[in-house]
Amino acid sequence: MSVDVIVCVKTNPDLQMIRIKDRQPVLEAIPYKVGDLEKNALEAAMQLRDAAGGGTVTALTVAEGDRKVKETIKEALAMGADEAAIVSDPALVGADPAAVAQALAAAVKKIGTYDLLLFGEGSTDNYTGQVGARVAELLGLPQIGYARKISVTTDGVQCERSMDDMIETLAAPLPAVVTVVSEINEPRIPSLMNIMKAGKKPLQEWTPADLGLDAAALAPQRQIVSNLAEEQDRKHILFEGTAAEQADAFVNALLNEGVLGR
């Protein structure tokens, strides 16, 4: 048997690298990388392919703006994906989940053959958690969310997921959409040899027009008005008196605030 898996990956800013300056994230010169959960999805796809003894793993991404996608998607190829495809357009800058899902669904149709579509449960930056489900809806496919185990047989896909107080096992016919959680596996780190090979693997580049989409219709319907780090007001209370009095007053204040003695 062989399985063909398309893994939808998002290029995220490396969140650990972001500094906050004047309450705003500094995004200038920030490195981009394949999102953490998408790495889990890629790893799962490669394990399924290898367990089945054949098949193709395709990494598919929608480029939301100037995110050096070509370099980032090579990370997916270096991890072990066989092929990659990019949909990009200036109109996709700041695209919302609905538009991203439309572009992905159109690209998936263009790729044509696949058994499974894998997603991370959400993206590490915005974490809307919508894209997988939306693509399933657009393509009319069954969808299983939050998988922590996946197996594929000729009958279909079986997934296990944790629902806090119980473990659920779900099955669906192929093709299907599955989103994965981070417990599912430990993504591999690309080896040098695979990085060298990655440059030679097939890479498709499409615009929305190539997919029969109207780029203007994909433009974001919502805008980020402000994005500020949380700021806490300090109370600026000065306690006076002897050390013992200050300590008493301080403890009382903490009690009153409900910080102590809960």
Binding site: D14, M17, R19, K21, A29, P31, I189, S191, L192, M193, I195, M196, G199
Partner: protein, 429 residues
């Protein structure tokens, strides 16, 4: 085994400069860098002297992401209770072709990596080289994880510790006598504040060095470089001196004490610390430069000990870039001649000898041993400040004539057996 023309170990300035030169000539080059991006592991004080290297890659510098062209040099000598500051401005420092710029490495190195990439070099970040592969004494490539890649020539530019090179016996292990540790904070300040505090025109920069009480008499000093929107403030302390003296307290706290000194506090006031970093510095001078090439390899930059601490000037980045350039030229010649053995690569050392790199290091041959003299970091900064203090002091007693005051100070602090011995030593400077 997969093979490329040339592997460069280390995407610092030396490695990237070599890769740029090699790729420009059409060679297949792969740079392996362990950081998330070139520069992610690298620390410098902050000033690159461009004038010695401008002609090597003339097309590059106009668009380099420098911070500020250094227009003013400041030196502060710190004694107990008195300090003296010199401010030097000269037209030729900045002007149309500035001689030096302040830099931040994360920006500079990433930019040079991009430039090398545009020329066709393959720069692989997040990849640590674990071993140099050797066969019959010849370096034949590298191992990274489980993968081995061969190369006609390996350019070893792994920085100051030189772990791979010393592991393979190509140079000595780093010794404390020849090394210092530098540690610094990048402190954000508004550009206008920076320009006010160091008397700069908009966009111009300053380099400010500190000697004396900052290192409590240990070999070293303080540095402050003005970037666009921040300053780099740090200390350099000789490892041998640092280790000898556990009573000086913990190394890191010297920087906090430095920042609290009354001369420094107003300079950093209102700033926000944005990063803290540390790195070793090679200070052994030409005496610790190892054999620079051999069968299948060349050493470049800090790995080859090419750096110089002359107290008021610290240089390493210009040497790194120049050695990378000359390494590339030597490798190209060797490849052309079809001889990548030591004999084929010998041009590397020859061209370094003809260039400022080994010439300047040779001129400075005696500096490393001279600056081991602790009086440079205790007595002299103190004495200079004391002398000037006496000149400017008006006390209750009738004043002496200026010449007398000066003469007394000079006789007391500068004309005695110890200082005359120092003067004899320093004639070698």
């Amino acid at each position: 085994m997969e093979k490329v023309d040339c592997i460069v170990v280390g995407g610092g300035l030396a490695g990237l400069s070599a890769a740029y030169g090699l790729a420009s000539a059409g060679l297949e080059v792969m740079v392996l860098e362990r950081g998330d991006y070139a520069g992610a592991k690298n620390v410098t004080g902050g000033r690159l002297y461009v004038s010695p290297i401008r002609e090597l890659y003339p097309e590059l510098w106009a668009e380099a992401p420098f911070e500020r062209a250094v227009a003013r040099e400041w030196i502060t000598m710190m004694g107990d209770g008195a300090h003296t500051t010199f401010e030097v401005a000269a037209d030729r420092f900045a002007g149309e072709t500035p001689q030096s710029y302040t830099v931040l490495r994360a920006r500079l190195d990433q930019w040079l990596a991009e430039k090398a990439g545009e020329k066709g070099a393959m720069v692989v970040p997040k990849m640590k080289v674990d071993e140099l592969l050797r066969r019959e004494g010849r370096v034949i490539g590298i191992r990274a994880g489980d993968d081995e890649i061969g190369a006609d020539v390996t350019v070893i530019a792994e920085g100051v510790l030189g772990l791979l090179a010393s592991g393979a016996g190509l140079r000595a292990e780093p010794a404390e006598r020849d090394h210092a540790v530098g540690f610094k904070e990048v402190i954000e300040l508004p550009p206008a504040t920076i320009e006010d505090r160091w008397h700069l025109n908009p966009g111009e920069g300053a380099a400010h060095l500190f000697m004396g009480a900052v290192t409590k008499g240990m070999l070293g000093g303080g540095f402050l470089y003005t970037n666009k929107e921040s300053i780099s403030l740090g200390l350099v302390v000789g490892m041998a001196a640092l280790k000898q003296d556990p009573d000086q307290g913990k190394c890191f706290s010297l920087l906090d004490e430095f920042k609290e000194m009354p001369q420094i506090r107003p300079l950093v006031a209102g700033g926000t610390v944005a990063e803290y970093s540390a790195h070793a510095i090679a200070e052994g001078g030409i005496a610790q430069v190892p054999r620079l090439y051999g069968d299948g390899y060349v050493l470049a930059g800090d790995t080859a000990g090419l750096s110089l601490n002359a107290l008021v000037t610290v240089r390493g980045m210009d040497f790194a870039i120049a050695s990378g350039y000359h390494a590339a030229q030597a490798v190209l010649a060797a490849k052309k001649a079809g001889d990548c053995s030591a004999a084929g690569l010998a041009g590397y050392e020859q061209s370094l000898r003809q260039s400022f790199v080994l010439k300047d290091l040779e001129t400075a041959r005696h500096i490393p041993r001279i600056i081991e003299n602790p009086r440079l970091f205790t007595h002299y900064p103190q004495a200079v400040s004391r002398l000037l203090e006496s000149v400017f002091t008006i006390g209750p007693q009738p004043s002496r004539r200026l010449v007398k005051t000066l003469w007394r100070g000079v006789r007391k602090d500068f004309l005695n057996v110890a200082t005359l011995k120092d003067a004899w030593q320093m004639r070698k400077l």
